[in-house]
Symmetry: D3
Subunit: 241 residues, 6 copies
């Protein structure tokens, strides 16, 4: 039934490749099927002005798409003179998601900035970004531990994200572009390794949907994020949960 032939609760092929960006303190190429996002974390010794002298750190994110990552070329935001509302919405989501599992107090006054750049887009770029950005962030913190800047990785849990949607009246997991562009509803779930909710964004595209359908989407998301967390652990060389 799905264009890709997947089962309703079946994720795309996931690959999380740590260390992809040679110069970044931490990085990960996150591949959800044909969606590829390069996540690169930069450690900076300065926090934003409004945080100075608070003793706490900050984690933020930026997001972009290569113009020809998409089937139809997308205009370059730098050439248009600024970031679109969609871009800003996504990078704010990524930043909030990462901060939800970061102990900003334990970080001390430093900042990590994670750049999520979409090399190829086939739907779900924001959820791949969150999932890969967590790996990049973890690696950057590990690097800080290795060189003595931090005593321990200041992360309290894992965080990953996946989209679900109603496609031809069926709840399906991990929408690709063909599904996303015709779904009746779609929702992005950012969940922790413990299953806690960090962020939920559900939107009816065609007509309103029912609370019961929303529950089905959330159940799928739980399954998907559990799998993604396992991929993250492998990429980071951690024991299975």
């Amino acid at each position: 039934m799905r264009p890709s032939g997947r089962q309703p609760d079946e994720m795309r092929t996931i690959r999380l490749e740590p260390g992809f960006a040679k110069y970044a303190e931490g990085s990960c190429m996150a591949r959800f099927g044909e969606t590829h996002v390069l996540c690169a974390a930069t450690v900076e010794d300065r926090v934003p002005g409004w945080m100075r002298d608070t003793g706490r750190g900050w984690v933020t994110a930026e997001y972009g798409m290569l113009p020809r990552s998409t089937a139809e070329r997308t205009n370059r935001e730098a050439a248009r003179g600024g970031q679109s509302g969609r871009t800003q919405e996504i990078q704010r989501l990524i930043g909030r998601s990462l901060r939800a599992v970061t102990d900003l107090q334990a970080m001390g006054e430093m900042q990590v900035r994670v750049d999520c750049d979409v090399i190829q887009a086939d739907g779900g770029t924001r959820t791949a970004s969150v999932t890969g950005a967590f790996v990049a962030l973890h690696l950057a913190f590990q690097r800080c531990v290795d060189i003595g800047l931090l005593k321990a990785v200041p992360l309290t849990d894992q965080v990953a994200a996946v989209s679900c949607g109603l496609y031809k009246d069926t709840a399906v997991l991990d929408l690709d572009y063909a599904e996303d562009s015709t779904a009746q509803a779609d929702a992005n779930f950012v969940l922790t390794g413990q299953g806690g909710i960090v962020e939920v964004q559900g939107t009816a595209e065609d007509r309103p949907f029912a609370a019961q359908q929303f529950d089905q989407l959330m159940a799928l998301a739980n399954k998907g994020v559990r799998e993604l967390c396992e991929f993250q652990r492998q990429a980071l060389g951690l024991e299975p949960a």
Copy 2:
């Protein structure tokens, strides 16, 4: 327990004042307690370029805050040279919410633009905007019917919005600023008169929350939106549902 002394499931005092803006085709001052948003609908005979010759209409929204609507002055976006990510996120949400209950085909090729300007802000400006914008939109469509531009109001349902949150471990309805700024989690629900979900946005501020807590928030939202829809019907001079 709540700073305002309200019960957990108690909305603020709601007032929807139709026709507030003298020159607009439809308008509504939406007051949720001390949050006041002026919603004004403008009917335009041109649709955006990408919709030309499709025979369908479009509904969109813009959002702004007066600089001193807030306790601390907020910089004027026009003076800073553009709209912030938050502003764009909110106005996209309002537009999607209105379109979810509009029959764009029945509208024909025209556009309605609803300006939502926050005169005073005490939390929940985006939900007051959606709720008031629906009234303004309905009035503008009614005006089009009155002068023969449309045969009937092309709305398929009502739409309204409310925020809920976890405040001191309790699920509460319709957060004011004092609650919003310290809530453990908050969620905005855009629902239809029939109880369908148009948009759900939940965010953990402090630590992740559980699916069960999310269900409590949604139950409160259902109660709140039912009440808001009744206020909308009164403002529009319609029979109670």
Copy 3:
């Protein structure tokens, strides 16, 4: 003869409502007939960089219009990416007018910023802005006195503004939009309570006008500003002059 039926030397109904903006240090809703401008003053403890360590204060203003304050919708300046020349011209005028009656030395190093936002526009928004901004500024200074920041209100006089014009060859006072858009000439006068000239801006719209006509406009302005100053004194709870 006038569209509104007013006498040539008759102002519109004036209402100056102090304290309209709940959160501002001083505020005033200034209504000149159907023109409504919300003026809100913010006290800041920092002066602009070029004034640091001079021991003197500063008063400045910003101006904006709600998009649907006008009969035809005006594009939102924040969405267009900046303030128009007209907007900047007006806010510079308001700032200069307020500073003309402020003892910047007595203020000490602090700044008051007055936001003038047009809620409804029927001509004369800049003169209503100056008139209401003075009330907001006075209230903000009074607040500073009440909490011990200042010893006395550092204002040396009142300031108010009114427009006059040549309409169908007759000099008339306080133009509304119907007159303003067809006047042969119009002039804005900013005068003090003592009758001193702070700012005069006269423009021929259709064809040049004579010095004698200009004198008629100034005489009307003197009458109008005397009345406005009385309204200001009432709004501020001061004795009649």
Copy 4:
């Protein structure tokens, strides 16, 4: 008493050099003492969009300063990313002044754009701009007549401008920078050859001034503009008035 040793009613040395810009349809270097403004008129066969198919023409102006035209370098507006409020205010003034003496109907659908660029600034750049721009505009129209585009120069009168001010309690004509920066009040007058008022802008810098003082400034302006009109006639090869 004046820094330059001039009498109170004495203009600076005026030179209007027609044809200064080799490529423009009409041009004039306007020198008011050490203030030098290059005015260049461009004839375009398109009017702005909102004037299409009205059968009427348009005249507009742009204004700029070379960064080192001033004693202290002024930042380049192109590098800062836009025109300041002051610049926009001035170029709007120049455009209105020129249109006040242009028969837009007789022009037909074409546009003349006059660029006024300050090469050297010693006060009074806007009045020199208006005065020189009129010469450039006249020459451009004459060129159109010469090549058969127009039957006659569509100008109904001359227009010129001069500043006056209160300097050490005395009314003086044609302020230079040393006077302008310390004047108690200054006013710019745009007047026609017939003595009609096109634009008056008076500002109290220090403290409000009296109506009687304003009358003195206007009398000086009349004298100054009469002299400037004579210089214009010489530059254009016209008979003395």
Copy 5:
């Protein structure tokens, strides 16, 4: 002597990977050692406005760097609100280089836009861009031939680019970042397969250099471009030259 241990006339390891971007009409990942540039060509059926109805086509390019392609993070241009002078200079160079070997008449009225995005930067990103962009352009034209839009690939020659420089008083080929940042002079050469000069840009970094030294750089460039053209032919599946 060179940090990389290369001979003065030795290029880095070159890899040109055609078809890297799944969705583009033509693409190439160009790797010059650790410098990796993804070049993606988009065929558009519209030419810029100033070329309409000329019967000729256009080829243009855009350039960007991922923020963490560099050892120190570079700010994202979209977030800063525009492209830097360096970026614009580079993309203009790429466009000119491609047009130098394109028969714009034979193309007909269509446009190819080549996006060159630096994934990893170790010096020489503009020369890698030109070299990879040619492959992407050729593949896009070939695609047009395959689907019948063009009769033949409208390219008159190959074009490739390489940098040379004076490093420790020796002329060396294909500078990497370690060399580039300390070179006494560097020059970028864009040459055709026939050895013709398309573009030469030489800059003394430290002190002026002699014409004789410039001749040495050009000789190295000729050797380098000959090798690059061979790699291009392999990537395109063409016979060796």
Copy 6:
């Protein structure tokens, strides 16, 4: 053969007028035939942030064109909201050229900014800018010496620039606009008084050109720059070289 009737190796009439800008620390009007560029140097006591506390100085340049310096009016960059890529490319070139002959160490922590504004354009504006900017810079340094800020003029050599090109298959010196717009190739050479190469930029406009032709262009440039350096020495009151 040349439109101007000049010999292939003949420069236009050169005039370098020192002290043209009354207020600048150093200035020069550089005239290459009908191309006139006003160069004005400003001495500032602050270096850019990234140079603070290095003990070294900085020299930079800005470039602009009056809108009607050209035969067809060019849009004003300040009105368009920013500098074009071409403008930025040129001002970076001028800055690099000046720094190549400046002893930044000997300057100490100060900055000289040279504004090059094109009053009239007939081709070769960037080379006239470099040539005139050197004179302005030298005069500004001399002023610093005169008032005791510097012990000696911190310039190590002269620098000047000229364009050459292939016009109707012949190598010609100092292209004017008529030649520039139809040349097969053109190149800009920035050379020192000693004949060293500071910058070379050659571009094929029509078809690639040969290395031998490039050598002819460079020989012409050497001749031209020798002549320009003599004009510079005259303008500066220095002995012939």
